[in-house]
Symmetry: C2
């Protein structure tokens, strides 16, 4: 059933499912977008405060996005996002980590200028064995239910 | 010459260079991480407010990261980032767009707990023909110059 703006209820929380971090993909992403030693060079990474290879934060954020799309946006009236007001990388992510996603609706506001659209403020989280590794607060734009 | 925490001066601005958005890569990224219709389906995208395919915001942010790594972090004492306090997607990005990157140092603070580390608050921007398409304010951790 298509999810419209009206279907987001403040305080509602979604289990986004889980995923396992693929080491090869993690490395390929970093080589292309974030080639810092602790993301791309196993030997040099050992000499850094991280003690080994860790995921680019943008890779971790992108993995969160995929969980969010599959669980919530796939069948929705999503019209994208103007941005986010916070994104925190709380713990290094490594190959093989199992991450669980969660989404909570913080605010919901009809558009003042577009009667066919509304905004929701969402809190997204990734955890590993209950320990938070990523959190973010962002806005999502959604089409309203036709009347 | 390696860039230490001390080498970031508040108010200093860096030209990060420019890039052209590759349509195939933009699509492959969206298929994997952000498969919403306006990112992955050319026909369906025409029916959305965007009028055609646009980049996932995470792809655009990752492109910014690559410019930042190449221009500033590659030869630095970067120790990663705890997160960002703002990320705005200001205008849809499309295949073939030429994006210019810029970085400005907003704040610089020595660590209170780790004498070998300091934090900088940075403002990053991507523009297309002078028009802003992405802006972000984030923290970077850097090792201090040995004394």
């Amino acid at each position: 059933m298509t999810r419209y703006w009206e279907d987001f209820t403040v305080g509602e929380s979604f289990d986004l499912g889980s995923l396992t971090v693929d080491g090869d993909e993690m490395l390929a992403f970093a080589r292309r977008f974030d080639p810092q030693p602790f993301h791309v060079d196993e030997e040099l990474a050992k000499e850094t405060p991280f003690g080994g290879l860790i995921a680019s934060g943008w890779f971790t954020a992108s993995l969160f996005m995929r969980l969010y799309v599959d669980a919530v946006l796939a069948d929705s009236t999503s019209q994208g996002s103007p941005g986010l007001s916070e994104l925190r990388w709380l713990s290094p992510v490594r190959a093989g980590d199992v991450l669980d996603g969660r989404l909570t609706v913080l605010e919901s506001t009809p558009s003042r200028t577009k009667p066919t659209r509304g905004t929701v403020v969402l809190r997204g989280e990734l955890t590993r064995a209950g320990q938070p590794v990523l959190s973010t607060t962002f806005r999502g734009l959604f089409g309203r239910r036709p009347r």
